[in-house]
């Protein structure tokens, strides 16, 4: 078992599904079960690799820094476990949700390719491998957004997503090519060691290209405008996957390149990340309120949460550059950011899947039509409320702790006026998000029932939602264990 198997299993699964589909036609659930099986193999491999980190893999005869290298540390494995977890849950959910669509062999094959691309991004040890898996992930997600291609909305949203995201990837590749020009290699560890010890103007140029390139997929303001179109247009399970993990892959790539390759002690990108993070969360939180479409509402909230994660990374980089004496604050901030990645993936996955249950039942995404739905669909609505409270940052649920850690790390640095300003804006944003989530819960729970005929979703759609709701609570109960994990993530990034 090696790292290579992690990306191999889903690709083999995708090829297998396409091969089977030429013999067995129109058996959607069979392909779904096959997809779950190959993801389970992947999860099994992941458990075996988990004890061996940091580990690397390369093709025989092409040792690093020459050839393709896969490398996993605790940050990579943290991300891969999120991808596999969300992949299995979403595939399980799709068995029923997508059962009325046709062409399901393509759907499940693309889903597996998406998971494979995400995994490859997280475990690649050189920047070009990262780019190749990045494009695999992007192409699979364009196709999945536009899966219902006979309607106008997915095509329009998908084309917008394709154009913006492709420009972003190419700009990021341009940044990578500048790093290559500076050091003559693409291996992440090798670039870091060959990098000149003081800052250069090319280095800052490549930072700008990398942030704005990968920032398109991470939905950082002002590159976020594809996201609120693409998430509602996609089928609900895909929205959960896009919002839960695909935008996190963008955040991962930014953090990996900035922290592991360029180094926060050499380049002052902390201020840039802080400004972008604060702008992202403020703009997105202000745009949540006018939304009537529940999935657009959740999509804007995803952008706001990316802002929080980027702010946490900004604090870490700012501290590492400006006051290396307080480096423990940088670890704290990065741990908070990583914890928020986990909480947002689980919470937003839960919200999109639960709202998928509502949409499947009443065929409308308008919040007005959803009023009072909890009287008819109690389990889905209860899980939805749990996820909303967690992301709104209501104690003692998981989302509260990650926001608390980030705000605490900001308050540690109260001698710097910038940090105080960021802390104030972030606290205001947290209160604002708590307000709109509680307002949403009030709409779906306490208003008179609009959709009288609605019935609770079947077990296949309810189980994934309930599993995620239990996970939301479990993260709080097992808080010390998860804090250990996110601490090791911060250690992997800061060295």
């Amino acid at each position: 078992m090696s790292l290579f198997d992690l990306v191999l299993f889903p690709i083999v699964g995708a090829a297998g599904i396409v091969a089977i589909s030429s013999v067995v036609k129109e058996r959607g659930s069979l392909f779904g079960v096959f997809a779950i099986a190959s993801l389970s193999f992947m999860a099994f491999t992941l458990f075996q690799t988990a004890g061996l980190i940091p580990s690397s893999y390369w093709i025989e005869g092409y040792p690093p820094p020459l050839g393709v290298v896969l490398y996993a540390d605790s940050f990579s494995l943290f991300m891969v476990s999120l991808f596999v977890l969300m992949g299995i849950i979403v595939t399980l959910y799709s068995l029923k949700y997508m059962s009325e669509d046709s062409g399901l062999e393509k759907y499940y094959a693309l889903l597996l390719l998406l998971i494979s691309g995400l995994t490859g991004v997280a475990i690649s040890g050189d920047l070009f491998t990262l780019f190749v898996f990045w494009e695999l992930m992007c192409i699979a997600s364009y196709a999945l957004v536009a899966f219902r291609k006979d309607r106008w909305e997915p095509i329009e949203a998908g084309f917008k997503y394709l154009v913006m995201s492709t420009i972003g990837s190419l700009i990021a590749l341009y940044g990578i090519s500048i790093l290559y020009g500076m050091t003559g290699t693409l291996n992440i560890a090798e670039i870091a060691s060959r990098m000149p010890s003081s800052w250069t103007i090319e280095g800052y140029f490549s930072i700008a290209m990398i942030i704005s390139g990968f920032g398109v997929t991470a939905a950082i303001f002002p590159f976020h405008s594809w996201l609120p179109d693409a998430h509602p247009a996609a089928p609900s399970p895909i929205s959960a996957l896009l919002s839960g993990v695909v935008i996190k892959a963008g955040v991962y790539s930014i953090l990996r390149v900035l922290f592991s390759v360029l180094g926060p002690a050499r380049y002052d990108f902390g201020t840039m990340l802080l400004i972008l993070g604060v702008a992202t969360m403020t703009v997105a939180n202000l745009l949540v309120f006018p939304q009537r479409d529940i999935k657009r509402f959740l999509a804007f909230s995803s952008i706001a949460n990316v802002g929080i994660i980027i702010t946490a990374a900004g604090v870490a980089a700012y501290v590492a550059y400006h006051s290396p004496a307080d480096i423990h604050v940088a670890y704290l901030a990065l741990a908070g950011g990583a914890f928020h990645i986990l909480n947002h993936a689980i919470g937003k996955g839960l919200l999109f899947l639960a709202s998928g249950n509502f949409i499947h039942e009443i065929k409308s995404r308008d919040i007005v039509d959803l009023e009072g739905i909890s009287k008819r669909m109690p389990y889905s609505a209860a899980s939805f409320s749990l996820g909303a409270l967690s992301l709104g940052g209501i104690p003692p649920l998981a989302g509260f702790w990650s926001k608390l850690i980030i705000i605490l790390s900001l308050l540690y640095l109260s001698s710097a006026p910038l940090m105080v300003a960021v802390a104030v804006i972030m606290i205001l944003n947290s209160l604002f998000s708590a307000a709109y989530y509680v307002w949403l819960i009030q709409r779906i729970s306490f208003k008179p029932v609009k959709a009288d005929g609605a019935k609770e979703a079947g077990p296949l759609m309810l189980v994934p939602v309930l599993v995620l709701a239990v996970l939301c609570v479990a993260v709080t109960l097992a808080l010390p264990y998860f804090l250990d994990i996110v601490n090791s993530v911060a250690n992997a990034l800061l060295g």
Binding site: D150, L162, V163, L170, Y174, Y180, G184, S225
Partner: protein
């Protein structure tokens, strides 16, 4: 140096093309121009005065293949949009606003 400058010019031309053209096919051509610019930059940075680094050439070969995949995929989008709106004008796809 002149190649790097040309690469940058190509990227800017591509972005200009995407920003100003309304035909979906022309937007895709813009993407491909950016792709060519980035590839050219890789190749130009591989030259160290005596020889060219083979790593960059292999990287660019894969990158060209990826560019072709994206173009093929984008053209499939154009076909589907054409089936629905009867034109390849991106202005017809304006129903989604922020």
């Amino acid at each position: 140096m002149i190649y790097s400058a040309t690469a940058m010019a190509l990227i800017l031309i591509g972005i200009y093309c995407i920003a100003t053209k309304h035909n979906m096919i022309k937007i895709i051509i813009g993407i491909e121009i950016i792709c060519a610019g980035v590839n050219l930059n890789f190749i130009s940075l591989a030259w160290d005065g005596q020889q060219s680094d083979p790593l960059a050439s292999s990287v660019v070969l894969v990158s060209i293949a990826i560019g072709a995949a994206i173009a093929a995929f984008a053209l499939a989008f154009v076909m589907n949009a054409f089936k629905q709106t009867g034109s390849s004008d991106a202005r017809k796809l304006r129903r989604l606003r922020w």
